[in-house]
């Protein structure tokens, strides 16, 4: 039995927190995903006929169809996380004066960085550090109040002498904000990099649900890379596997007191189904119809142009692909601590499984 799931009387239950945790342990900063790709591969193997990792590290798992010549359906969630790389050294005086400068890989909100714990993924192993910040007592009283500090003015404190930092941390070393997933209240899960590992967990959940039945499609599950920077992980994976349909599973903004209601979906509302020009109308309609028929909690999310996800990237690969988008409501995107509800992740997984099953009745239609 898979290490991260346990069977209940009624069916399969995926331990979302543990699965996300397994993906969060190894570093997987956008562009440097070789380690997290390995974790993703291990998670996919029991659920697929074969798994391979491509040159830009997207992990591709395939479950064959029972029918020859069946349509190919790709489900994609990105396993890269926003983070940083070390760009230079900054020595201050004193015996613990070794600091490093960092640049962004992906759009991490620098306003949430000061005083956060980070992990520097050095060749010698994980080094812990703190994002340095000036305490209130030493603030410049003439500076504008509550001014946000840009990333280029931040640095990471490794608590070591400068010479040792240079020895242990080569330039370009990836850095991530430390946050194993944790539970808060009911079924809420908090942590860094829930974007998009929570959705990869949802795909695994869908694969679990489909585990024992013959499939009407060739099912391709992709843990893609570089989504946060250039989307090349999904593009090259889609090029390689030539799917007819590709559904991206990504996160979308969940409501918070300071966010405009019309630009968010409520947390707890299930899966957000994307509708718009970058998404194939037949796929979107089918997703909505299935969700309604099977009482899967869902909302509709209208995306007038670039969806901000791999769906847009995959739509124009080779001669084009019919794309869809299923999104997980997530609070505090791209900050040091994001929040989702397991209820919503499960709804996404159920919807994806139902979409695959729907090919038994025919291909997607309006």
């Amino acid at each position: 039995m898979h290490a991260y799931q346990y069977h209940t009387k009624g069916g399969v239950v995926l331990n979302f927190r543990k699965t996300i945790g397994a993906l969060s342990q190894p570093p997987g900063v956008s562009g440097y995903e070789n380690d997290v790709a390995e974790s993703a591969r291990v998670l996919l193997e029991p659920l697929c006929n074969r798994v391979e990792t491509l040159p830009l590290y997207p992990v591709v798992g395939v479950r064959d169809s029972a029918k020859p010549g069946a349509p190919r359906v790709l489900l994609d969630a990105h396993i890269d996380q926003i983070g940083f790389i070390v760009t230079g050294y900054e020595d201050t005086e004193g015996p613990v004066g070794g600091f490093v400068r960092i640049a962004a890989c992906g759009g991490f909100d620098p306003r949430t960085l000061p005083a956060k714990e980070v992990i520097v993924h050095a060749p010698c192993g994980r080094l812990h550090g703190i994002v340095a910040c000036l305490p209130p007592h030493l603030k410049n009283p003439d500076a504008p109040p509550r001014a946000a500090i840009p990333l280029k003015d931040l640095s990471v404190d490794l608590g070591m002498p400068a010479a040792r930092v240079r020895e242990l941390v080569p330039l370009g070393t990836p850095v991530t904000v430390k946050a194993e997933p944790f539970g808060i209240g009911g079924d809420f899960i908090g942590g860094a990099a829930l974007d998009d590992r929570a959705c990869f967990a949802a795909i695994l959940y869908a694969l679990e649900l489909l585990k024992d039945e013959p499939l009407p499609v060739e099912l391709i599950a992709v843990g893609s890379t570089r989504e946060e920077v250039d989307g090349r992980g999904a593009a090259t994976a889609a090029h390689h596997t030539r799917p007819d349909y590709a559904v991206a599973v990504d996160v979308t903004h969940a409501g918070t007191p300071d966010a405009p209601k019309e630009r968010t979906v409520p947390i707890g509302s299930g899966a957000a189904i994307g509708i718009g020009p970058h998404l194939n109308r037949r796929v979107s309609s089918t997703l909505v119809r299935i969700a309604q028929a099977q009482n899967i909690p869902h909302t509709r999310e209208i995306l007038p142009s670039f969806t901000g996800t791999n769906a847009s990237v995959m739509q124009t690969v080779r001669a084009g692909i019919a794309t869809g988008l299923v999104s997980l409501p997530l609070r505090y995107m791209h900050t040091g601590c994001e929040v989702i509800r397991e209820h919503d992740a499960k709804a996404c997984g159920e919807l994806l499984a139902a979409f695959v099953r729907s090919f038994n009745e025919g291909v997607p239609r309006c």
Binding site: S30, G31, Y32, N34, L54, P55, L56, P58, I85, V86, T87, G88, R101, A103, A104, C105, P170, L171, G172, R226, V229, D230, R232, G233, A235, T236, A237, H239, H240
Partner: protein
Amino acid sequence: MNYIETIRELAEITAPSGFEKAVTDRLAELCKPYASEITLDPLGTLLVHKKGSGKKTLLTAACDTSGFIATYIDDDGFVRVGELGKCIPSACVGLPIRFQNGTRGVIGCDGGVEVKDLRARHLYIDTMGETVRVGDACAADLPTYASGDSIVSPAMNRACCAVLLDVLQRYTGDGDVTFAFTAQGMLGGRGASPAAYAADAERAIAVELTTAGDTPESESRSKVKLGEGAVLPVSVGGTAANLGLIAELEACGVTRRAVDERGQSALLGLQGVRAGVRACVAGIAARYSGVMTIARVSDMQQTAELLLAAL
């Protein structure tokens, strides 16, 4: 190979982005004795293939320079221009340029515009009455010369081409190597993906200029210095290089890592074709990307040695 002579010869050819034929013609001549096959791709990139039974590698170097294209000639004969590659408008005022047909001119700018507000549309070329047609292209008309071990040139991309030439001339192994002198590098590495698609190699290495950080108040955090040999940037302009490939190169010689936040590179174009390609940059430290650039011959030679060892 005599680097200064080769670079000077190539740099003196006026061939800005989109108009690389003049330099690719000369490069083709220089490559002919060593290549199995030479082709020009639809964008103007020169693909020089040295067939082999071993590993398939692609080496690239951009062969274009930045410049201007004549878009409009006013009643007084002043030539309005569009940029071929990003320019710093204030650095261009007073710059001598030469068109591909040999016509020379000087760049001027509209009066009454503050330096900080200067854009390309405020510039024009004064050709002193000599004829130029709309659509003609020009580049900086400045000499390339040596100073000690350093080379000073307005067309330092040609030094990257020289490194490729050096490797091509000396390589005797059985690897299958494509040398791509890419077009439109100054427009954001545009020539890279078609070249990578055509070459279909297992790994790709772009020879490019890397921002040096050894000048006063430099914003570069990696503090790359001239004279340190081959630089292997882990990231250029936000695009990650393949760390495995970097490790392979590091095993072949003395190198240093860096992060080049500002640079523009062929890296993204090389990596993202087909099912993805392992790619990285072999960087030559260079100061000043505005008008004249300074780099060291020893850095270029060491980069060539590194590539030869890695092939």
